[in-house]
Symmetry: C2
Subunit: 400 residues, 2 copies
């Protein structure tokens, strides 16, 4: 029997995934599970997108252009212009979700064996994309004590080796909800210039920035055009995760030409998704407000509810729809399993994402969980009641 | 300025792509270009697929399962059962087009630096996927003189090294249209067993087998379950290339579990595409006959028309919708460029795919082109008239 590849064996199976069968089993025994573990909101998809799908005009669903349909690329350029970011449509490639944007960036910027520095905790799939691309994620730890602010640049510099080729941040951050300040972005810019690194910025949650509705994209940084790579997606902004339409953009034309070659190999991004995304980008302000206000209200409710539970520490996330929370437990993964296997309150329980899955450094995040506020406030209320009672009953409660 | 990765620099820009601006320029000067260079048929997408899209019921386009939606996986299992292939739905993963199926297979079966043997000429994007996955395609040459039959197994064995991990065939073949015989498939099976290799079989064109409508999938081979990997797609069968829905299937559960880990990283295949594909798999027999008969008629017309042109050699392809043709020219790429730049007949010309792009061995295919019979017979007739006149006028005509 031929052997599976080493990289296949190395691909992580995240703690979230280990919980899935437990949640299914809880559901089977009649216990409702509030799923706060993944970024699948219950909000309505942009009606523009749905209408475009229902009114599809063509009778032949053809390949689109490998770079994405030009009309969609131009629409993205207009979209970015509205937030002050000047990008020519030729700087923008449409990808199969933000996922493919990350993969193309890794393939175009890094060789096999090269290194990319990422503040941890980070979006767990970065690690998987890195393994697939045969590159190494080098973590720089951020801490819940200061709300997961950017670690000092000196910490990044300690990790730089001759193989370092890029820095990657997610802003606003998944999983922490942290919103990098302009000064922090400038620090990374200076680091990228000093060490000649690509600066990849995953801005999938950009429009969910709660301090003000005015968004500050990394693409506004000056003097770093050849380094900056924007990774984006319509998934969260229009509650349309299943479309699989994202973006990789850069003013570095050589980089975009290279990403396009990877794009040509896979022919084109999903074409119905592109049709829907193009319509979504024209969503009325009321829709955008609906998304923004829903998440803002949920965040405000959730952060207060969490901090009201004795022993729970939850910094106030300023963006995205996640928060990393410290729980008074011996081991958050064990607790998450216990909630699904042995606990229920009013025939309800909660599914949480264990924090350790978002750290690369072994041992970190053991008392943390990521909570996605993707359910309506009624559900969040019940979920918080479950969490509170669960923490009271959990035998592995810690006093720390 | 940070440097683009070596693999990015290595990614090929195929001769087909070099022709695109020339075709655009011909169109701008008012010359109609018959595009026989790519596999984009003009046939109608399955009406079932279109209806499913128009009647989409949900108001939230959510992530699907990373393995593909279970209902679609079960539908694929039923589909394969109808051609005698027993696969559990759990042996089947839905991918973002056949393209992603190839990528997952390479990532799961081969390490960086490993080798995969592929008969040439081969689908040009195999090379791109291999570069992205950091593996090496080792070609074994097949020849137009015997219709691109499988090269002798001894030729494969000469290429086997300690790094060889897999053999890949496309059956029916793109670009040659060759349909491997059962005995040829058995030879590859025996080779895979003897040398402990994975046997990847790209059957995207399976239902377009013109000798008989009864299809013989490699998945019917016995004694090789742990080696066999099926790569498939709904793109061609239902004329729905833009959906981006494919399949990787294997009875090797470890391989499927590994491919799923790569699939989990990218969250899910496009969900509207999955909805449409599931409906397409229920297309009525009349639709399937329409596709089959259209291509059969076009093939019959085209092969005769080509062989009627003095100096042109075209074996009869028994499957898919391509044929590799030998032309009496000095250099088929130069000729293809000349057709777009300097030739027209009745304000029309033809776009052909130069053969060299389908070979890895330098110098091969120089007199060959791939022709995709993706246009209706009226158009093919005009295209053949152009080709004939073009060959008469071309200054680089060769007598060979």
């Amino acid at each position: 029997m031929p052997e599976i590849s080493k990289r296949g064996q190395l691909m992580p199976s995240s703690p979230i995934r280990r919980l899935v069968p437990l949640a299914e089993s809880a559901a089977r025994r009649g216990c409702h599970v509030f799923r706060l573990n993944i970024g699948q909101p219950d909000l309505l998809t942009s009606p523009n997108a749905l209408e475009a799908i229902r009114n599809i005009g063509t009778n032949i669903i053809e390949y689109g252009h490998s770079a994405g349909n030009e009309s969609l690329r131009r629409k993205f350029a207009d979209f970015y212009k509205k937030i002050g970011v000047n990008l020519d449509y030729q700087d923008i490639l449409v990808t199969t979700g933000g996922s493919e944007a990350i993969t193309f960036a890794l393939l175009a910027c890094l060789n096999s064996g090269d290194e990319i520095i990422v503040p941890e905790p980070f979006y767990a799939n970065y690690l998987s994309f890195a393994i697939a691309a045969d590159v190494t994620v080098i973590p720089v730890t951020s801490f819940i004590e200061n709300g997961f602010a950017l670690p000092p640049v000196a910490e990044f510099e300690k990790k730089i080796t001759p193989r370092t080729r890029a820095v990657l941040i997610c802003n606003p951050n998944n999983p922490t909800g942290y919103l990098y300040s302009w000064s922090e972005l400038e620090q990374i810019r200076d680091l990228a210039i000093k060490h000649n690194l690509f600066f990849l910025c995953d801005e999938v949650y950009r429009e969910l920035s709660y301090d003000s509705k005015s968004v500050k994209s990394s693409m506004l940084l000056e003097g770093v055009d050849e380094h900056l790579v924007l990774l984006d997606s319509v998934s969260k902004r229009y509650s349309a995760t299943g479309l699989r339409v994202g973006v990789i953009a850069s003013r570095n034309r050589e980089l975009i030409a290279t990403a396009l070659k990877f794009g040509q190999a896979r022919l084109c991004p999903p074409n119905i998704g592109q049709l829907a995304a193009e319509a979504a980008l024209d969503s009325p302000p009321e829709y955008n407000d609906y998304i923004f206000n829903e998440f803002l209200e949920r965040r405000n409710y959730l952060v207060k509810a969490l901090n009201d539970i004795p022993g729970v520490v939850c910094p106030t996330p300023k963006g995205a729809f996640y928060t990393m929370v410290k729980l008074p437990v011996d081991d958050a993964e064990k607790f998450a399993m216990w909630l699904l296997q042995e606990f229920e309150y009013n025939r309800q329980t909660v599914m949480l994402a264990p924090g350790s899955g978002f750290y690369k450094t072994p041992g970190l995040g053991k008392q943390e969980v990521r909570i996605a506020y993707v359910l309506k406030i009624d559900d969040l209320q019940n979920a918080m009641e479950c969490l509170k009672r669960g923490l009271e009953d959990y035998p592995g409660r810690s006093s720390k």
